[in-house]
Symmetry: C4
Subunit: 190 residues, 4 copies
């Protein structure tokens, strides 16, 4: 089984997720900049989620590069990842419309956490399918980012009930950590 359609389908779903999120920014009735003010939290949560989906697309792209053959378990683990990511537009909208209230922020972190877990499951299945000399296993090495992310997500969920600033800081920190280009797989490929 080739990976072509898995990549095409994932690209399609991620492209749609990233684009339909913008539909949550509803066109206001007034025609002044003042009328846009209530949309600022919705816009900020859109920016954060856009970056997250961008990171997932980017890393998915890198990870799939190491794959030559796809099996049924990988197909379903990939759909499982897309499932959690498909809920991102919903939680983004809920968080933005409620001005980063505690419970929306906690749920946002929870969905990110589940997407992160789904990504690790997919990564492990690919490594397993590649056997002892797994290119992906070498490329990710100790996978510090992968291990730190769930810790920060859980911290962010906990913080959301204390301070939404602190919670948001955690979610932004994870995004920034992954934004730094991941040279590992690129280097190993060469």
């Amino acid at each position: 089984m080739q990976k072509g359609r898995l990549e095409a389908f994932s690209d399609g779903v991620l492209a749609i997720i990233i684009t339909i999120m913008v539909l949550e920014i509803k066109v206001p009735h007034g025609e002044t900049f003042h009328d846009l003010l209530p949309l600022v939290p919705v816009f900020l949560s859109y920016v954060l989620s856009f970056i997250y989906i961008g990171i997932y697309w980017n890393n998915h792209h890198h990870m799939m590069h190491t794959v030559t053959k796809v099996n049924g378990a990988i197909l379903w683990a990939n759909l499982h990842l897309l499932f959690w990511l498909s809920l991102v537009p919903f939680v983004t909208g809920w968080m933005g419309e409620n001005h980063f209230g505690p419970e929306p922020m906690a749920l946002y972190g929870f969905i990110l956490l589940m997407a992160g877990v789904a990504y690790v499951i997919l990564q492990n299945l690919i490594i397993k399918s590649q056997g002892g000399e797994s290119l992906l296993a070498k490329a990710i090495g100790g996978d510090i980012k992968g291990k730190l992310s769930p810790v920060l997500y859980i911290a962010g969920i906990g913080c959301s009930f204390v301070s939404n600033w602190l919670s948001g800081l955690m979610y932004v920190a994870v995004a920034l950590m992954w934004l730094i280009p991941d040279k590992r797989i690129e280097n190993k490929m060469e």
Copy 2:
């Protein structure tokens, strides 16, 4: 005629179907977990439909693997399948918003049944186009799953007027039956 664009178009339509379903989960106005409670049935029906579309994508992927040449009848049989699947977001939303009422559940089963019938038509056209030594015909063999599914859908439609639990059980059973990775085509290909 090559199968490349048929796969690309089907991937696009399935990716959009799976993603726009999430738009039926409307962002609530309140900001507590309590405000999410009315969304639980909508969410559950989303999960079930997500799995169904995932199964169709997966099986479509496998089936198309055996295909080398596409004719006009196959193109239209494929569009016919996509037509019924395109109605899944509608029935999913209707079923979820009405808390699994009898008539929405019956219609949900009917749409699944029609999609199943459309899939079998497509499968038969492909087998016919491959002639006597059809790889797909060998791969599906007795096609027990394919024969059992419509029986369970019809049972689910009937049950929906008696007990929505029983009806839901039928639909979940079909999904679980197909979720088990289908080794048939994979094995035959090797």
Copy 3:
């Protein structure tokens, strides 16, 4: 310039058009089959438009098969075709919600007419780019269907102010005429 991305982009736009049309079938609040009755005209217009977009995708697929090189004029003629097709969901919704009233039916025919004109422009540009020995020119021959379609569309627009049944008949007739698999290009390719 290769045709790969032109096909991919067109597939994407057509896949989205065909799928977002279903969003016009709004989930009703009631939970009985009776509550679905007002949706019947919306559903019927969805079916007709689904078939039309399917026909365009199908014919686009065939036509592009004869193309080896794409120029700027072809790219823009293709976007022009996609523009008119992108308005199909709007007119489909308007026609369906107003139970096939005269003016929505006339506009529906007008959009189909413009899409047909855009298709012919694209076809002519491709033939021109292929020079004297154009494969596409040979394949379409006298192009009877292409010449009859605008006549029927205009007849349908005119009829819409007299009888919506007659007008609908015209639009269905064009669809049926094209549904019959077009062997011309398939044969010429072989």
Copy 4:
């Protein structure tokens, strides 16, 4: 890293942007042509934005033709461009619904300006990655269009507070300037 998935993902996002814009043209309740009148500004802004997205897709297509290898910076610069373009449906809807009021027109110009800046950043990163003998650098030459566009956008933003006609003229002028097929890259490729 190959450019295939970057093109596929960008095609997907651009195809969705261009198509969901049409969702801003809400189906009116009345059934006469008169009921469509309030939609005229929404339609006109849709046409303009459709052309802009078409231009971006077209130019992106040309630019990517010169690329053989993609790095992390190019991936993110591409996502940055898609981010600003993803806001086009929102500003298009806001401008259309408010009949080209001053502040929506200024914001429209601002989003176009930012998309233009993002495009130049992406272009520069590609040129840099190609080293001294960059094909893209030769192809764009003095890049007069690229340098004139931001000037016209800024002029359009300024004019929007004086006359929406003048402002609209600026935005239309930029679109027309780019609509003229860009022979530069095509020629250099040959």
